[in-house]
Amino acid sequence: MQLLRRLMPRKGLHSTKFFAWALIAPAAAYMCLIVAWPLVETIRLSFTNSGLGIEDYVGFANYEKLLSSRKFPDTIGRTFYWMFLSVGLKLILGLIGASLLAANLKGKAAFRVLVMPPWIVPIAIGCIGWLWLYNGHFGILSGVLQNLGIIDGPFEFLAYKNSAFYSAIVTDVWIGTPMITIFLLAAIQNVPRDLYEAAYIDGASRWYRFRRITMPQIMPMFASMALLSAIWTFNSFEIIWILTEGGPRGGTTTLIVDTYKTAIANYKYGQGATRAVLIVAILAVFSLLYLWLVNKVNKKYGDEK
């Protein structure tokens, strides 16, 4: 009580300010410890040749090496292709799924629960399941394709650059779609029923109602899910690592996988940190774009002033 009274704003503006700072200090300290310090440390590391037992300042050497490397443009391109393809599929499938689940049919609760397993099952377990599916010799996909006569012999999905990449996309979409579906479903269910009834009375078809009522109404949620999903997919590591470890011959190596391979697998902490800084920069640009976009979407479709 004594302490509080001393801290309370009695002496005007100056102590009010002090009190405000005192209130946010614990949270600020916590943020510094778990966010700011590691970030600063990563940036510092990116200017060193830090590895096992050594750490000397090397200036921009890591950045020069990374940007002049032959593989790096491929990795960046692959990462963005991976992100756009996967997020696009997740959003489309999520929207279709949510619209179907919102329909008033018998046993809809059961369908809603059945959508969730890919999301609920631990990612590692799910990925091991997919490893089996993709296996050329005892995997069911290869087996079914052979029985149907589409392929002649066993096909090892994860053994070729392209097929491995698209297989990883399929798994990533499988894991990422349910959450988007559930969130979009929630948004769709929040649309007042009256709006649909009013449009129905005015003669609007199902598709017209979807286009001019559902889509605009769920747009803020859709934009948010698009960005969150983009960030997660950009940084999606464990799925690729479990399926292919970035192979074959770098065919599934995205920026995050490259960072891990450099820093952790090859003990080149400095060079790994350089990649991490790059990821932070790209995601920061993303977040700015997102804030701008969400603001615009809310202005256009929100019901506020």
Partner: protein, 369 residues
Amino acid sequence: MATVALQNISKSFDDTQVLNNINLSIEDREFIVFVGPSGCGKTTLLRIIAGLEEASEGQIIIDGEDVSSAHPVDRGISMVFQSYALYPHLSVFENIAFPLRVAKVPEAELNQRVEHAANILQLTNRLQHKPGQLSGGQRQRVAIGRSIVRNPKVFLFDEPLSNLDAALRGDMRVELASLHQDLNATMIYVTHDQVEAMTMADKIVVINGGNVEQFGTPMELYHHPETQFVAGFIGQPNMNFISSTRTASTATNCSIKADGIGALTLPVSSCVGKEGDSLCLGIRPEDLSLTSSGQGFEMQVKVLERLGGSAIAYGTINSQVSGEQSFKAVLPGDVQVSPGQHIHLQVNPDKCHLFTSQGDAMHRLKAEV
């Protein structure tokens, strides 16, 4: 423009019967109000006419054409919802234009029709705003605008004023009534507020428990309620009901002994039955007048609501059955009465209503209308 006929409409949800065999015939250009307590089925009946619900049985006939299974657009109706159901992401212009866009009306004609509607409803300088920026009354007008651009044959309103404050509701009542005169259209209006029903309707349909209790003009309902329910529902403040017993009757009158009031002889017909039958006397609070002590009957005032021009006294009268019975009376605005005081009241038997124990009214022979 349009007549509407409902023939043997019944509706049940699963096992619950919400509408029983409704028959109504609505004339062209009439303003019809469905009124009843909540849950009586009035909104369901409106939604059946709109085509949002399907009747379990019966036909809806608009302009002589059976539209029971037709799409709302083909029925030629439009509807204003209780919540207004405005599209929050669209401007006022686009909200009003929505039905025309659906119908792919050419741009020039669309502009002209929206502006015409906006003119009628004084929304011209609001067309570019979003619904969220409008006041309650303006939103209400946008919803009405959306229903008039389509030039429907029949307008349906589902409790459109219930979200407005009391003052605005009064204004909108007048606006809707004048809109009805301007548009010259058939309108069906649902409300639970008997004041709205009385003030706006050409004819009122009183619905209770899924049945039509009575269908008639406001004055018919006020002066000749067919049932005790209608008598209690129509009129503000509502009617006093006093348990009574028959003492004698002729072809043109009925003598009763009313609990706490005394002997009265009412000019009613069809008062058949025997002495000692229990009846129910109905007295409107506004038909009572003050009298000097020693005359009439006594009422103890508990609460007095002063409205300025008149005052409503709430209190009790003595009852042989239950000790005391609650009672209301409308008194002159400047009456010198305070709560707790006893007053003496008298009533003209010509103005009283009489109901059988089943709740059916006896026909009043000396009513004003």
